[in-house]
Symmetry: C2
Subunit: 245 residues, 2 copies
DNA sequence: TTACAATTCGAACGTTCGTTCGACTTCCTG
DNA sequence: CAGGAAGTCGAACGAACGTTCGAATTGTAA
């Protein structure tokens, strides 16, 4: 609580998360140091909170639920997170930042437009299924955060969206097409994000296969049909792949 | 409150919604009569509740919010709905039942498999955009209801899903395809339902156009490409349509 | 060992939650 | 007009909420 408790406003929770202008007196081992015991404990709490938010929803989960799940007292939680809102923000920011960072790394090595779209879908679905709970919290509680926190997460989301629009427009097939790249991209996001409502690891394919199948549906669906490049998708989708099965 | 108040359990809210075995003493003008003043007032409240649930989420909305929005006292609300849970249930059940009923009516007149899929998509999107708030509450609060209420809504959902699977399999194109009808249908639902997160009536197309465009993407995407019928989608998707633009 | 910071917690704060109660008013029927 | 049912409400219930506080405990460096 080193920073927040210095402002004596008893109802600071309702106020927007102001940037406290008190850089002095901040304990040495805080926040920035990523491997410290503090930040490791912080991440533990975050993991448990992700699970609870996933199961009961942000509003439906109480700080007491989070306390119980992480095996820490109610007051102890506030040593690591200044509010419930900040907990959700931390989950969303960390999750979204990671997925964007992973995407950029993977895209760096590939120039072929169709392959780049496939990489996008594969990256999204792999991360989605490997971090299902966090991604559900990201998708399902997307407009819970307001003001500063909400804007920051929304900015990452917009960045991610813009990347995807760029990739789809890079296919160069939408000029004369019947639909906008906006519709194409948002339909793709819908397909992918809806997964959290239905995916069952026991009966559904793994991320690699799902990515290939959804890529096929999307690419074939989105190619203007008099475009000669459309054949490429067909050929691709039936060829051998290095991953899975 | 005629039924629930008769069981004297003070914490009946936590208990599953048991079927009260007290059919006598029920006031004459209740529930079944659809045009009565009672059910008209009930529907008014439901409309206001839909708006509040849409904006703040089920857990985030309080009975006091609903009371304020519908211009009725807190206690007055309980004259029409025995609990907050039943309010959500009524919204979801009514919305879902209507969309299924509409679908059945529209499908009755059409035998062509592709046209039937297009009807499904058009029916879904038209209703979705005409009742955006209710559909958001249906989609976003899908697993809030538990036990009896939850099961009943889940049953309608399953019915709706099964209809769609039937239509897609009716296309007769998935035998040798790379993906299951399950994946195809759930991807389609994703595309369609995700709309509530992005649709802006000021900049996006209307339901008719969206339905056509999404149908094109889906049908083209899902057709196995060596299937001669695939050409049909191309031709269709570029032809004149009776509705819109 | 001392001293100070970091960590943890029980207990409480004031507020808001879903729900209930009894009484008051309105409306319809006889 | 009488009388009962339907509708409406203010006030309250106990529980649960997010958050805070001061004290106790632990860890660490001198």
């Amino acid at each position: 609580m080193p920073a927040a408790s210095l402002l004596l406003n008893p109802r600071s929770a309702a106020a927007p998360p102001r940037v406290t202008r008190l850089p002095a007196r901040r304990p040495a081992s805080h926040l920035a140091i990523s491997g410290s015991a503090f930040s490791r404990r912080r991440d533990e709490i975050l993991d448990h909170a992700t699970e609870v938010f996933c199961d009961k929803g942000y509003e439906g989960a109480s700080m007491r639920d989070l306390s119980r799940a992480s095996g820490m007292s109610l007051a102890g939680l506030y040593h690591y997170f200044e509010s419930k809102e900040k907990l959700l923000y931390s989950i969303q920011k960390q999750t979204f930042s990671t997925i964007v960072r992973n995407l950029r790394e993977r895209l760096a090595g590939q120039a072929d437009p169709e392959a780049r779209v496939r990489i996008f879908i594969q990256n999204h679905l792999e991360y989605f299924l490997a971090n299902q709970k966090a991604m559900k919290v990201l998708s399902h509680e997307a407009d819970v955060l307001k003001n500063g926190y909400g804007r920051e997460v929304a900015a990452i989301k917009r960045e991610y969206y813009r990347i995807c629009v760029g990739l789809v427009e890079g296919l160069g097939i939408l000029q004369g097409a019947q639909f906008s790249s906006r519709l194409a991209v948002l339909s793709l996001f819908g397909m992918m994000n809806w997964i959290y409502t239905w995916h069952n690891p026991k009966i559904d394919a793994d991320a690699g296969q799902l990515a290939r199948q959804m890529s096929d549906i999307f690419l074939r669906g989105v190619f203007a049909c008099d475009n000669p490049a459309a054949g490429k998708v067909r050929a691709r989708s039936r060829g051998k792949r290095k991953t899975s099965r």
